[in-house]
Each structure stands twice: as C-alpha cells, then as structure tokens.
C-alpha cells in the first residue's frame, strides 16, 4: 500500500469582487474572522488582472457593478481555461428569479442574497468550501486506490542489505500527494548495489505520472550495464539521458538524478549526478563534513549532459547523505527560500553518531509537515560499517 496522507485543510483564499467599499469591508472582515484569507477587489477588470497572477480557492462576486457587471465578469472568467474552474458564488441584492437562474446557469455554485445576515452568508460559504474539499478528498482517494491497484511505486518499501554498508531512506510527498521524487535500489550481487534518487521537476500528479517513464529507463540502463559488466556510472547516466532526450513523450520533462554504486569489497562509493544537489559526506577521521558536487546537467536538458564520475573512499563510520530539493526549500517570513546550508546545519549535529539516521529522523525529518514542506522531500543516507 502506498502511504499517502490526506492533504491538509489549509487556509483558503477568497477573492471578493464588490464595488461597494463598505459592504466589501464588512464581508472581508467576517471572512477573516472565520479563518479565511480574503482579497478585496472593487471591479471585474481589476479582479481579472489579479487572477492572472494569483489563483484563489473561491471567487465571490457582486452582480451590479459599474462597467463590467457580475455576469460579464463571470463570462470572462469562464472564457479563461486557467481560471474557469475556480468555484464561483454570486453575492448580490438582485434576487429576481430569472436573474438568479441566469447566474446559476453560468456554473455559479450559489446565488446568495446580500440581505442575508452576515453569519448566515459566512456559514453558507463555509459549507460550499467544505463540500468542495470533501469532493477533492474523494477524488484524490480514488486516484490513490487506482495507483495502488496498478502497483506503480516510485519509492521502495525497504532498503537493501549489503555487507559493510547500512542504507537508510526517507520520503515525504508534497502535502501528501505522490509527486516527482523517486528512489530505488538495484542489488547486483553480494558485492555491488546501485542506489538512486531523482526528482522530476514539477509537483503532484503531473510529476508523479512521469516518474515511471524515468524509472523504467534508469532501471533498464542499469540492468543492461550490469549484463555487460560495465559499471561506469557516467556512461550509464549518459545513456539514460540520451534515451530521455530521444523520447518524445518525455520532451520538456526534466529530472535530477543522483546515481551511486556501493562496492562492499573495496568500501568505495561511485557517484555520478545529473542536476542534483551536492551530496553531504561526513568523514569520521577528521569529524568534518564536505559536499560532493558532480558536473552533470539535469536529465533531458541537453543531449550532451557533461556527466562526470567520482569515487568516494568510505572508511568505517563515514556517512553520506543524498537528497532532493524538497529538503532545502523552507518558508521564510511571508515567502519561501531555498537554503542548502540551512539543511546542512540542521543535520550536522547528528552526523558521526552511532544512530545518526535515527536522530536525523527524530529531530529533523519528523519536523517536516504540511506547514513547512514546499516540495517532495527525499533522502538516502549511507553509513560505512
């Protein structure tokens, strides 16, 4: 069973289009009190401008406005495929039956009379939002069941065992959706094991859908190279990249990839990266951390991907962390930022200990939740024993 928690009931943003400043302010304040974010706009054209840069969860519009009235505004919204699916409600003092019918025929969810007491208006809007949310949850659940039935997994259920190494991994999809991160391990024999981590650019279902195309190519390329006893990671990644560049169905889809090969006989870790974040390596001898950066470009970017290969000689106690950008994207004041050094600092205190990954899970990863997660987050953590 793929574990996808349900998406959260996040703060909903409502766009209120109302030319009467006083009434607009009253409703705005009532909605804010009810826990919504509310953006007030005093005209249809102004609201359309706003909608070109911001997508609210619900639009409430007056009917009687100078210039563009509510129906014309609604028609303009319906004409624009980027915004025509945003739930829409009329809030107006015009309650003539034929007008109400005309409004509802324009796919408005409700036609609320302005004379209705404010608490009742808020309660009606609450119900509309709740029922939309329930419908959304139902659809997501059905998709999850379908994905589960197809047995398509982009994250394995357990880590492989390899003599001399301990391998851990962790993954959390953005807001509980399956996304574009993927992890897999290919254990060749008692000596070699491949591990890889990738991130299809994009979010949610769209990215998730393409993970399987990428995963198939990566798995196949690795298998062919194993058959040929060719373990040059840069060449493997170059082959994968070529396949992806040639595949028209994957045109314009890009992915990062960190590919490593663990050699239990020599204790070496071979590494080639494609547009991935630098790995974090911990050396027990000097108790220092160092980042390991590859030169390769994202898979699917250019046919010549500039892939290099590196060999990391790991001594007992040495550790290596490989992760995706969901780990470094964090909320910052009212915005967001990508902060690689921040993540390094976060895990630094727990490196070099006997149960490092347990500690990282307990003190860093468990703190990643819907309030602060901005993208799929995944990590593979390797310890040399």
């Amino acid at each position: 069973m793929i574990a996808f928690p349900d998406p959260p009931t996040s703060v909903k943003r409502i766009l209120l289009v109302e030319d009467s400043v006083l009434f607009g302010r009253v409703i705005e304040s009532a909605l804010r009190k009810a826990g919504y974010e509310c953006v007030l706009c005093d005209s249809g054209p102004g609201a359309l401008d706003l909608l070109s840069v911001e997508i609210p969860d619900l639009i409430i519009s007056d009917y009687d406005m100078p210039g563009m009235n509510g129906f014309h505004f609604r028609q303009a919204v319906l004409m624009n495929p980027k915004i025509n699916e945003i739930p829409f409600v009329f809030l107006t003092s015009f309650t003539d039956n034929s007008l109400v019918l005309e409004g509802l025929n324009m796919y408005a969810l409700d036609f609320i009379n302005k004379e209705t007491p404010i608490p009742v208006i808020v309660s009606k809007l609450n119900n509309i939002i709740k029922s939309l949310e329930n419908e959304h949850l139902r659809s997501v659940r059905e998709l999850k069941i379908a994905a589960d039935a197809l047995n398509v997994k982009s994250i394995p259920t357990s880590a492989p065992e390899l003599p001399g190494f301990k391998i851990h991994f962790w993954h959390k999809g953005y807001r509980g959706y399956p996304g574009g991160d993927f992890i897999d391990f290919v254990r060749v024999d008692n000596r070699y094991c491949f591990a890889f981590l990738g991130d299809i650019m994009g979010k949610k279902w769209k990215a998730w859908f393409f993970t399987f195309g990428f995963l198939s190519y990566i798995r196949a390329a690795i298998r062919f190279c194993v058959l040929d006893k060719d373990f040059d990671l840069d060449e493997i990644v170059q082959k994968i990249n070529k396949l992806i560049c040639l595949d028209e169905s994957l045109q314009n889809i890009l992915s990062s990839l960190s590919l490593i090969l663990l050699d239990s006989e020599t204790g070496e870790v071979h590494y080639t990266g494609a547009g991935d974040l630098p790995l974090i390596g911990f050396k027990t001898a000097n108790q220092r951390i160092a980042t390991v950066q590859s030169s390769g470009l994202l898979l699917g970017l250019l046919e010549e991907g500039l892939y290099d290969k590196q060999v990391l000689k790991m001594q007992p106690g040495d550790q290596l962390a490989i992760f995706t950008d969901g780990m470094i994207d964090i909320p910052d004041k009212n915005s967001k930022k990508s902060d690689y050094p921040f993540f390094v600092e976060k895990i630094r205190p727990y490196l070099g200990q006997s149960h490092s990954f347990d500690l990282i899970q307990k003190y860093v990863l468990s703190g990643i939740d819907d309030s602060n997660q901005l993208d799929d987050a995944s990590i593979i953590f390797i310890e040399k024993q």
């Binding site: 840069v53 980027k82 979010k203 990062s256 910052d332 915005s335 967001k336």
Partner: protein, 112 residues
C-alpha cells in the same frame, strides 16, 4: 502577464513580476517566453529582480524555454538573481546552460 517586457537595441528585456516563481505561474511564464521567441526575439534577458523563491516547476519552464530557443539560435540570459536563487541555480548547474549577469546593463555590455 507574468513578464513585463521592453525592447532595447533589438534585445528583449523581460522582468518576472512575481515574487514567487512557482507551479502557479510556471506555465504562464513558459507561454510568454515562447510567444516572445515566436514574435522574433533573438535574445531575451530575463530579470529575476523581484523573485525571492523559484521552485522546480518554474525551473522546468525556464529550461523548456531554453530548449525551444536553442535550435532557433535564440539566447536567454538571466540577470539580477537574488543570492538564494543564484545559489540554487549554481548548485544544480544551471549556470552552465544559462549566461548569468548582475543586471541588464552588464548583460547589454557583453553585446557591444
């Protein structure tokens, strides 16, 4: 519109208006960039002066624009990247495929 554009000496200077370059405006950015190229731009200098955060969906659109331009000999330069955005692009080697400059002026100087 997510881009405000002006043409200076045959170069399209485009400024991303959004503070967050993300999933919600990535497709629009891609479409506007491709429209600029279809309309004959040979060099687009994209300013990130307003952008605090760029997510992978938007990066994807940026690369799609680059890939559209490459076979048509259309260049895309990036300017005015804030430190966090610049760091991210460097970390994932985007600096190898885009020319990055401090600002529009510096980008224009390389042309003369």
């Amino acid at each position: 519109m997510i881009l405000s554009t002006k043409e200076v000496n045959g170069v399209v200077q485009a400024t991303i208006l959004a503070v967050e370059a993300n999933l919600t405006n990535a497709d629009q950015f891609k479409e506007e960039m491709i429209t600029l190229m279809v309309n004959g731009a040979k060099l687009i200098v994209v300013s990130f002066e307003n952008v605090n955060y760029i997510d992978s969906s938007f990066l994807g659109s940026l690369v799609v624009a680059l890939k559209y331009g490459l076979p048509r000999s259309i260049d895309i330069y990036l300017v005015a990247l804030k430190p966090d955005v610049h760091n991210l692009l460097t970390l994932i080697r985007m600096d190898k495929v885009f020319r990055i400059f401090k600002d529009h002026e510096q980008a224009m100087e390389t042309l003369s």
